[in-house]
């Protein structure tokens, strides 16, 4: 495996006095698709927020191209080439689809113009028809497409996707996941936070499983067995569901 593009080292994160992450070692290489699975509250979203600088962490705990970036503000991380599709989509309501996308273009990471409005419209053709509509008038699936397109227009080298299948119909999920290979083929590394283990396993090269703020399993997605995942997902002593 090549040198990691983005990595965390013994990452600890706190919400006030409550410790949410206990020494996470995580890495993703350029062009790789990594899945992050685990039950609700396992710390997956916290890990993404800590990487993005939305939660304060020590500088050495997060590295981009080997350089410490922990504690840098979110907009700085975006400028350095880390993009995120936040949990719950978090679109800019009251603004049109295209204005949502233009905000990302206005603030994209420098040195790379791989993603253009035309390219994201080619990826999600429905958005081109809806580009003048207010985002809140779109369906859930279409809103998720806007969120992915918005993050891509930040020109990230690594794209963090927080539960992009949540609350969507299976057909729509497939539509969005169909875009993953073409994103990673363009050289963008992807981190998929996902509760649907089957979906995550199929879409990723490697996976990490988290439980109660710790990584309990890591390996090539094709190699890990359902039994291993079950044990890591629910903790030892729980029967396979």
């Amino acid at each position: 495996m090549s040198a990691p593009l983005l990595s965390t080292h013994g990452l600890q994160a706190f919400y006030g006095d409550f410790q949410a992450l206990f020494g996470i070692d995580f890495e993703v290489a350029a062009g790789e698709v990594v899945a992050l699975i685990g039950a609700n509250g396992a710390g997956k979203s916290t890990l993404l927020n800590a990487i993005m600088g939305a939660i304060r962490v020590a500088p050495d705990m997060v590295r981009l191209d080997g350089a410490p970036t922990g504690g840098a503000a979110p907009h700085v991380m975006v400028a350095k080439g880390v993009g995120i599709v936040p949990e719950g989509r978090r679109l800019f309501t009251g603004m049109s689809v295209e204005d949502n996308l233009r905000v990302a273009i206005d603030h994209s990471a420098g040195g790379n113009d791989a993603w253009t409005l035309e390219r994201v419209y080619a990826l999600f053709p429905i958005l081109k028809d809806k580009r003048r509509d207010l985002v809140q008038s779109l369906s859930g699936g279409q809103q998720q497409m806007v969120a992915v397109a918005r993050a891509l227009l930040n020109q990230p080298r690594v794209l963090l996707c927080d539960e992009i299948s949540l609350g969507l119909a299976p057909k729509v999920i497939n539509e969005i996941y169909a875009a993953i290979p073409s994103i990673s083929d363009a050289g963008t590394a992807i981190v998929l936070v996902e509760q649907d283990v089957g979906l995550a396993k199929k879409a990723s090269d490697r996976l990490y499983c988290m439980l109660e703020g710790k990584v309990t399993l890591t390996g090539k997605s094709a190699d890990v067995s359902r039994e291993d995942i079950s044990a890591a997902y629910f903790g030892a002593g729980h029967a396979v569901a």
């Binding site: 993005m52 939305a54 503000a73 979110p74 907009h75 975006v78 400028a79 995120i84 936040p86 978090r90 679109l91 800019f92 309501t93 009251g94 603004m95 204005d99 949502n100 233009r102 905000v103 990302a104 206005d106 603030h107 994209s108 990471a109 918005r150 993050a151 930040n154």
Partner: protein
Amino acid sequence: MQWLDALIQGVLLGGLYAQYALGMALMFGVMRIVNISHGDLMILLALVGVSLAVSFSLGPFVLLVLLVPIAAAIGYVLQHAVLNRVVSQDPLPSIIATFGLSIAMQNAMLQIWSADTRSIPGGGIEQASWQVGPIFIGVLPVIVLVVATALTGGLDAVLRFSKFGRALRASAADVEAAALTGINPKAVYAWATALAVGILGFAAVFQGLRSTVAPSDGPAQLIYAFEAVIIGGMGSVWGAFMGSMVLGISQAIGFRISPGFGILAGHLVFLAVLAVRPQGIFGRS
């Protein structure tokens, strides 16, 4: 005919109020905060304007060119040094901080300029008027209204079409998501306040030309700006503009009914709007 006159004078007065209200609408729309020293800042700028005009015998236009950048710079510094520390879901810190600032500013101005009322010399423009039948229309109030309309249209265009405007609207909609899309919220906030206080620079010059200013006048201007924003409907700059017109007309008509009733009439229209149409006359529910 005197009611038509009141209506016209009210609209012209509304032009001045719009220049107070735009900045408040902008700051609340983007940050959900109200700067209680908004009116005091305007008075401060006007008093600085008076001193500059008198010391260097500057005309109104030169004064505008000087004062607006000064105002914007004050706004930028105010946001960085004070307001960025108190922007939060909880309204308390920002109210208390700007309330303290307001008290300090009023009293500091009192010491520097004394309690006297002053005005900016306009070189005759403040007395000039056109006569239309029995009604006199002041040249200066018309200029104020035209400038207010231009400022409102300009601000609306900036919000709609510019990169900065998109960043403002995105931060207003969801500031955390905006940061995750590469926007630096504190920088956007600082420029928003620079813009809001910059507009107060126009208001200060016109207030100083049209009538008088004294250090204790700020709170009244704050209240007019607030009433205009609420009457018009929160969340749009044209709403603030139209609210200013309604407030100006209410005060002018109230004043015709009885001189002691003018300001009160404005307050009562504000309360009536709050009672029957809390989203504002031009606001969406």
